[in-house]
């Protein structure tokens, strides 16, 4: 487990300085922490694809943005990832919660839960699943992908891994 406060500090220490997204209960403590942080903006977007557009603008302005969303919102985002973020090679961090993990969740999450990682891999977004230990390494690996390959990269967050 990694504590919410420590996880947010790690993100900022790795240079992330602009946050936007759409909430998920799994990410609620992280989003609340970032929303209240005086040193970074968190823009509460109306949709996940809008959040990605906003993050792209922030990147063009020289920021290092991260987008937070539930995996249900990944469905709203595929077209934008394909025809904006991957096309122009915009390095964004996508923090995506994993509802429907191992088929145990409310019915509306099961189909997307089964396909989340496959969808990301299929369109070419390097994806890691946040382990219960060593969150810092996962974040620095993500930064390496962003900086060396100019690609967006996803970190998938299961319930209970960030506390």
């Amino acid at each position: 487990m990694v504590k919410t406060k420590d996880f947010c500090t790690m993100l900022k220490e790795q240079g992330f300085d602009f946050f936007t997204g759409v909430p998920c209960s799994i990410l609620k403590a992280v989003i609340n922490n970032l929303s209240e942080a005086p040193d970074v903006p968190y823009i509460p977007a109306t949709r996940e694809d809008e959040a990605i557009g906003i993050a792209t603008g922030a990147y063009l302005a020289g920021k290092k943005p991260a987008v937070l969303m539930q995996n249900s919102g990944l469905g709203n985002s595929i077209g934008t990832l394909a025809s904006l973020v991957l096309l122009y090679e915009i390095p964004l961090l996508l923090l995506i919660s994993w509802r429907g993990y191992q088929g145990k969740d409310a019915p509306e999450h099961l189909i997307m839960g089964k396909s989340t990682v496959k969808l990301l891999e299929d369109i070419g977004v390097p994806t890691q699943i946040l382990p219960k230990e060593k969150a810092e390494e996962t974040i620095s690996d993500a930064v390496k992908i962003m900086e060396e390959r100019s690609l967006p990269t996803a970190i998938i967050v299961r319930r209970g891994v960030i506390e």
Binding site: T20, I43, R47, I54, A58
Partner: protein
């Protein structure tokens, strides 16, 4: 007399000072802007319809001392009305949102949108844009763009009612990664 889109984009580029950052919506808007006046300060969207104003917001919010102009279309903004809410709420005063409204999806063959009845300038005003006006002649568009460039009362919304009609224009010939890198480089070099 109403303009065609090409004339409207000409009027906009003539009225700009040249140091603005410009985000242009995908389809014929980007293609015509590219044909009329290519610049490293133009970020041509090729895909991701609907998101021109979101990209412009992220840019304007992060660079409060730069004027950011988004050249949008009615089909584009109707796809992402939530963007008007976010822009209106956070109200970056350096954001200028111009919507070229021909009441149709012209890039895909002229299928009608609903902007013939939906008053987009009123939606923008209700969302919190500080100024929102509607123009339909080249002369009024020149005046409106110059006005919004000189105001600190942003974000500004300019709805431009245009008529149907296209020119034969090429596709944007730059690679997408080149559009991005020269846009960022122009900022780094202090050109912007």
């Amino acid at each position: 007399m109403k303009m065609k889109r090409y004339e409207a984009i000409e009027a906009i580029t003539e009225s700009l000072k040249g140091d603005e950052l410009v985000i242009s919506a995908n389809g014929l808007i980007s293609r015509e802007l590219f044909t009329i006046k290519d610049s490293p300060r133009n970020f041509y969207m090729l895909g991701s319809m609907g998101l021109a104003s979101s990209i412009a917001f992220g840019l304007a919010f992060s660079l409060p001392n730069k004027k950011v102009v988004v050249i949008d279309g009615d089909g584009n903004i109707l796809m992402n009305l939530g963007s008007l809410a976010i822009i209106g709420h956070f109200a970056p005063e350096n954001l200028i949102h111009i919507v070229l409204d021909n009441e149709m999806h012209a890039s895909t063959g002229g299928q009608p949108t609903v902007s013939n009845t939906v008053r987009l300038e009123k939606v923008a005003h209700a969302a919190g844009y500080r100024t929102a006006k509607k123009v339909s002649t080249s002369e009024d568009l020149h005046v409106a763009v110059k006005e919004v460039l000189n105001t600190t009362e942003g974000p500004s919304f300019v709805l431009v009612k245009i008529e149907k009609g296209e020119k034969e224009v090429p596709r944007v010939s730059h690679e997408p990664t080149h559009i991005k890198s020269r846009f960022k480089e122009a900022m780094g070099n202090g050109e912007i």
